[in-house]
């Protein structure tokens, strides 16, 4: 590996791949991208419906939350991507951008570099451009399940506006979702941003290397220390910035392990203090979801899909259920009077989504009720082994539970409004507070969207400034969902890619006025 590295990007996820590409567009800049996971060669990554099989493999972080007091005391499984492409290589491929209100809030927190217009520019840049052969291939599902139409008809019957796929999440309404697929296969951020760079001599990508800490000269970040798969320890320096892109769990974990955080916490962990930034790890947000499972019809039980026909459809034309992202349609709605933007998403899935999708035996369908704009805030800190301890504090704020319960009632109405009729014995109606309490206690799970733990802002309490520079030190930025001041009302992959596009613009703009030391 060359010693002349300008930028060290830690984490090849939805943000890190974007930075690696955009910063190495300048052939005079040398970029090294370090990923703790392996290359993205597993077949489960390519086959859209196979993604639940990636959980528990070397391609996913295998974490759990602490016991959640408001969810029956359960500890929730919290996987995230650990391979080239990060979570964009193991997710459900949903491509939604969020509501303008989200970005108005970002601009209020961090200034006009993050306003709706800037993010609209970043959003368009995140989608594939023929001219640069860069960005995400995005579009309609190749072969959606016909039953998704029944869900959308039911949404229409309860008064939800029909939208085009590219409008979903940007305003109130329902429709088919856009997905990051190409020719019926997953198209990850690694496909969109790393594959086009293979000819560049000034970008080095290393997999299976775990960054243990950031190295400092005083308060100036000068490199990182990492281990390879053999456990050997190395150091790599850089002339410009260390760019931390490890996600909303990994990024605050790395800052804390490197001496940036709450001084009392670091003292308790015997980690020498580099900079007192008490906000590191706080402001944790996530989308909590509660599934309503609808069992299969007698037809589906008596005449199961012919597996050999499905196999042929997939391997001849990348069609059929194997090409499904398992979350095909959605509605973004307001259930609280006076809400300034949608507060609930109803997510339609062509299977009974249990055990994070790993149980594929039951057909039927699921409507997941998603709390889009939670008021609760959790926290991440270091455990004795210096791995992240995760407390999302789901529903800790008393305003969240009633909103989620109203969403569950709406989902029940949508199921009852299905044009084909749904036998009430096929699902458990959630139409009372007691029923809502039961399903929340027993079935609520993460939608895998952690955000906010290195919040950006103009205020001194924020962790990073509007240029994403970590306060109290120099040469160090965080670029990923951790810097989001509030979680967008969207599946967070597209907003993270757009955020990284905007960050790359800001970094390149400051390159010219802030020469390397």
């Amino acid at each position: 590996m060359t010693n002349h590295v300008d930028y060290l990007v830690v984490g090849a996820g939805s943000a890190g791949c974007v930075l690696a590409n955009r910063l190495s567009e300048n052939s005079g800049r040398h970029v090294t991208l370090l990923e703790s996971g392996p290359t993205d060669s597993r077949a489960e990554i390519r086959i859209p419906a196979a993604f639940p099989r990636l959980m528990g493999t070397e391609c996913a972080w295998d974490r759990r939350t602490v016991a959640q007091a408001e969810l029956g005391g359960r500890e929730l499984y919290w996987p995230s991507g650990r391979t080239l492409g990060g979570s964009s290589s193991i997710n459900a491929q949903i491509w939604t951008h969020g509501h303008p209100h989200d970005y108005t809030t970002w601009a209020q927190a961090a200034g006009d570099q993050w306003d709706t217009d800037r993010m609209r520019w970043a959003r368009s840049r995140a989608e594939y451009s023929v001219a640069t052969d860069t960005g995400l291939r995005v579009g309609a599902l190749r072969d959606p399940d016909p039953r998704a139409r029944d869900f959308l008809t039911a949404c229409d019957k309860v008064g939800i506006t029909a939208l085009r796929a590219d409008q979903l999440s940007t305003t109130d309404g329902s429709g088919m979702l856009q997905v990051s697929q190409h020719h019926g296969r997953r198209f990850s951020v690694a496909d969109g941003y790393l594959t086009p760079t293979v000819e560049r001599d000034n970008l080095t990508v290393r997999t299976d290397v775990l960054v243990r800490r950031i190295l400092f000269d005083g308060t100036r970040a000068v490199g990182v220390e990492y281990t390879d798969s053999a456990g050997d320890v190395y150091q790599q320096t850089c002339r410009r910035d260390v760019l931390v892109c490890c996600g909303a769990v990994g990024s605050p974990r790395l800052l804390l392990a490197s001496g940036i955080g709450d001084p009392d916490h670091l003292t308790a962990q015997a980690i020498p203090l580099v900079a007192a930034v008490p906000g590191v790890g706080t402001n944790l947000m996530d989308h909590l979801q509660v599934p309503i499972l609808v069992t299969e019809t007698p037809d589906e039980v008596d005449e199961p899909r012919n597996p050999s026909v499905e196999l042929a459809r997939y391997f001849t034309g990348r069609r059929g259920p194997l090409s499904s992202n398992l979350a095909e349609a959605a509605a973004f709605v307001r259930v609280e009077p006076g809400a300034s933007a949608p507060d609930i998403e109803l997510l339609w899935m062509p299977v009974q989504f249990e055990d994070h999708g790993r149980d594929t035996r039951k057909r039927g369908f699921t409507i997941c009720v998603v709390l889009l704009a939670p008021h609760s805030r959790g926290r991440i800190w270091l455990g004795p082994d210096r791995d992240a301890v995760i407390d999302p504090a789901y529903l800790h704020d008393p305003r969240d539970r009633p909103t989620l319960a109203r969403g569950l009632q709406l989902a029940t109405q949508v199921i009852a409004a299905h044009p084909t009729g749904v036998d009430p014995q096929r699902y458990t109606a959630v139409d009372t507070d007691a029923a809502a309490q039961y399903v929340i206690d027993n079935r609520a799970e993460t939608l895998y969207h952690p955000a906010g733990t290195c919040r950006m802002g103009v205020d001194v309490e924020s962790v990073v400034d509007p240029y994403l520079r970590v306060r109290g030190v120099s040469g160090l930025r965080v670029v990923d969902a951790a810097v989001m001041p509030v979680i967008p009302r969207a599946h967070t992959n597209a907003p993270t890619v757009a955020l990284a596009e905007n960050a790359a613009r800001l970094i390149r703009a400051t390159e010219n006025i802030l020469p390397a030391d």
Partner: protein, 86 residues
């Protein structure tokens, strides 16, 4: 390369069907004889995708996939028409 498809495919199917690969013939039917079902479908597709370099074939023509031999032929066709970079 193609002449190795049959034994490699039979090794995969033997795992899925819990049989010896020597007990699997080209005439065996995937569903009726080897017990392929919706549970093992994803498992089989992952193994096929991992083992063979599969593109797409012309999906405007219906493919009659019933037997192990049909699947061998499909893999041969798909291997010669990789479109992933298209």
């Amino acid at each position: 390369m193609n002449d190795t498809i049959a034994p490699r495919l039979r090794t995969i199917l033997a795992t899925i069907a819990s049989k010896n690969d020597t007990d699997i013939s080209g005439e065996d039917r995937l569903v009726e004889d080897l017990g392929l079902n919706s549970m093992s479908l994803i498992e089989l597709s992952i193994k096929l995708e991992s083992e063979f370099d599969l593109g797409m074939v012309d999906d405007t023509q219906s493919t009659n996939l019933v037997t192990v031999g049909d699947l061998e032929n499909l893999i041969r066709t798909a291997q010669s028409s990789d479109t992933r970079t298209a």
